[in-house]
């Protein structure tokens, strides 16, 4: 078996070398023939690479704005029309719930949040009504909101319900002018808060979503909102981040059951699957990209077939030119299979040569795209797509076999005596 493979490799290696010699002796003709295959291979590899890079980028952005592996528990206010006895025992989401939900198996992190309330905010420079959210430790990082100055909230801020605030970037100028806001004071509903950080909006290149509102808000410890401002123990919302290796649906279910039990069956909260939203968005992006891919592959396929037709005609010419040679080889003992192999090797070598040149050209095209994007100030890296490169080579082999078969068979069917008559 090993010996057979070695023989086979050395035979085709020799055939390929002979074919290269033949191809080299018709440089211009070979070059023209190869254009189609070169373009086909170049488009396959550049398109798949580009499409893969766009996909990575879209996935990245969608995961950045969405919350993979996360579900939410949302406080449902007391129901006026409560009929069931259980609903009358309504308690709602509490700070204690937030603390204890960390114990649910499979939950990595828990972030409480109080929805924004419109509050009167003022400094010496300005005074206006601004949405103010109550958030948890690490919540801003969890949502991938970029902290551009200072810091976000730390555990002590939450435990102490400290009067500290992270402000949106767009609010810096009106409230503080050109001065550094970190360490300065803002007054929220008459109470003085220390500014500890500045948050910027999420910047997205591909996904058409507007996150500019983030920069027009303020973020304070949720404990301050619940305890000192609202004067109660209830929070609006809890995000539960599930461990990557945990089974998401069952963790979600046990989170729900856990809370339901604590609340003695009261129907006082809702569960929302944020991960499903992300998955939905990703699926939509996939759909758009795969529609694109169909177009791209059609283009690449057509180009390769055009290349194949070029290959076909040049091989027919080659066969006609080499009738004499076929006759000689037949006289020396070549049978139809050897003759067919001779021309198939030429076809495959041409196609592979074209594919190699195309791969190099496609890679060059990718680099050009990257540098154009960079000249526009965009960070856009396109790694060469390996499956695309393999596909281009495989396509070229297929084209070489498919379009080489008929000319090669025609050569193989030549009657040696007819071929020798040409002498």
């Amino acid at each position: 078996m090993a010996r057979q493979i070695r023989d086979w490799v050395s035979e085709w290696g020799e055939l390929a070398l002979d074919a290269l010699r033949e191809i080299w002796s018709h440089k211009l003709r070979s070059l023209l023939t190869l254009f189609g295959v070169v373009f086909g291979a170049a488009s396959v590899v550049s398109m798949t690479s580009l499409s893969a890079a766009l996909k990575t980028m879209a996935y990245d952005e969608l995961s950045r704005m969405g919350m993979p592996h996360t579900f939410e528990l949302i406080d449902r206010g007391p129901r006026a029309d409560a009929e069931r006895a259980a609903d009358l025992r309504h308690v709602g989401l509490s700070i204690k719930d937030v603390r204890d939900l960390r114990n649910v198996r499979g939950v990595d992190a828990v972030y409480a949040r109080d929805w924004s309330d419109a509050r009167l905010v003022s400094t010496l420079l300005d005074q206006r009504v601004i949405p103010v959210e109550g958030v948890d430790v690490g919540y801003l990082s969890f949502r991938n909101y970029p902290i551009v100055r200072g810091r976000e909230l730390v555990p002590l801020d939450i435990v102490n319900a400290a009067r500290v605030v992270v402000i949106g970037e767009e609010l810096v100028e009106p409230f503080f002018g050109t001065a550094d806001p970190i360490g300065r004071t803002v007054t929220i509903d008459g109470l003085r808060f220390k500014v500890v950080g500045v948050v910027a909006p999420v910047e997205l290149e591909l996904v058409p979503a507007d996150f500019s509102f983030l920069a027009r808000r303020m973020y304070v410890p949720y404990t301050w909102v619940t305890q000192y401002h609202r004067g109660q123990q209830r929070v609006d919302q809890v995000f539960l981040k599930v461990a990557d290796d945990a089974d998401f649906p069952s963790v979600l279910e046990s989170g729900r059951m856990y809370l339901k039990q604590r609340h003695l069956g009261a129907d006082d909260f809702e569960v929302e699957n944020s991960a499903a939203d992300v998955a939905e968005d990703l699926a939509m992006a996939d759909g758009i990209l795969s529609g694109w891919n169909v177009v791209l592959f059609t283009i690449a396929g057509v180009t390769l077939i055009v290349g194949g037709i070029g290959l076909f005609s040049v091989l027919l010419i080659s066969v006609r030119e080499r009738v004499r040679e076929i006759g000689i080889r037949a006289a020396l003992g070549a049978d139809d299979r050897s003759i067919r192999r001779l021309f198939l090797a030429e076809s495959l070598t041409l196609a592979l040569l074209g594919a190699t040149v195309g791969l190099l050209g496609g890679t060059g095209l990718i680099k050009v795209t990257e540098s154009i994007a960079q000249s526009f100030g965009r960070e856009f890296t396109v790694p060469v797509n390996m499956p695309g490169a393999v596909m281009a080579i495989a396509f070229a082999i297929l084209v070489g076999l498919l379009f080489g078969w008929y000319p090669a068979s025609r050569a193989a069917k030549l009657d040696p005596i007819e071929a020798i008559r040409e002498l």
Binding site: S10, E14, R21, E22, S25, R324, E325, I328, R329, A330, A331, L332, G333, A334, D335, D336, R337, S338, P416, I417, I420, L423
Partner: protein
């Protein structure tokens, strides 16, 4: 048993609706180690007979045994195999591969024989070229050689597979008399080394090189 044993060989070519008989019942016997010339005027059927004896073509009718094997019924791949193993051709126009070196040219029949590595094939080819006095031409391409040298390369190629016989068609037809004489001397040496040669020619001086002549006229053996 004779090396070549052909009986009642006929060959009819169809040209449109007309049958053109090229051979009409030819008997040929050649013994192992013989040097035989086939002579006759142009169009008499010499090449056709040579192609049949060389297993390039099959007779329309008749029986042909080569080296003990019945050839008449063989076609295609089986004939190709016999050609490769039993026959070495030398043509009037040399018919070397222009893009290969002369050693690669000489090695070519061994490629179709199978079972030889490229290195082995080239080694044998070079040894043979040395023997025929072409050692200093190894690595050159045919177009760098004189006509006489090219024909001797063709002789080396016909010998490399150690065939049962050489079939030679007008070997001096494209050569000046000096180069022709050189090539004929090579054939004499090859014959003296024990090889069987069947040579087609219309040149009486060339035919005189052989031990005996078979004369063909109009597709038949003439007296």
């Amino acid at each position: 048993m004779s090396l070549i044993n052909a009986h009642g060989i006929t060959k009819v070519y169809r040209l449109g609706r007309v049958d053109v008989p090229a051979l009409r019942g030819v008997d040929v016997q050649v013994e192992q180690g013989e040097y035989v010339a086939i002579t006759g005027p142009s169009g008499s059927g010499k090449s056709t007979l040579m192609h049949i004896l060389g297993c390039l073509d099959s007779p329309s009718d008749g029986e042909y045994h080569l080296d003990g094997a019945d050839i008449s019924a063989l076609r295609g791949r089986a004939l190709a195999r016999i050609r490769n193993q039993k026959v070495g051709f030398v043509f009037q126009t040399f018919n070397l591969m222009p893009r290969m070196t002369i050693d690669e040219n000489v090695a070519l029949p061994l490629q179709y024989r199978g079972g030889f590595s490229r290195r082995e094939r080239l080694k044998r080819a070079r040894a043979l070229l040395e023997r025929l006095g072409l050692g200093d031409r190894i690595g050159h391409r045919p177009d760098e050689l004189s006509g006489g040298e090219r024909q001797r390369v063709a002789v080396a190629r016909s010998l490399v597979g150690e065939p049962a016989m050489l079939l030679v068609d007008e070997p001096t037809g494209n050569l000046d008399s000096k180069a022709g004489a050189e090539v004929l001397r090579t054939f004499r040496e090859v014959h003296n080394a024990g090889n069987t040669i069947v040579m087609v020619t219309h040149d009486m001086h060339v035919a005189a090189e052989a031990q005996r002549s078979i004369h063909i006229a109009d597709g038949k053996i003439a007296a």
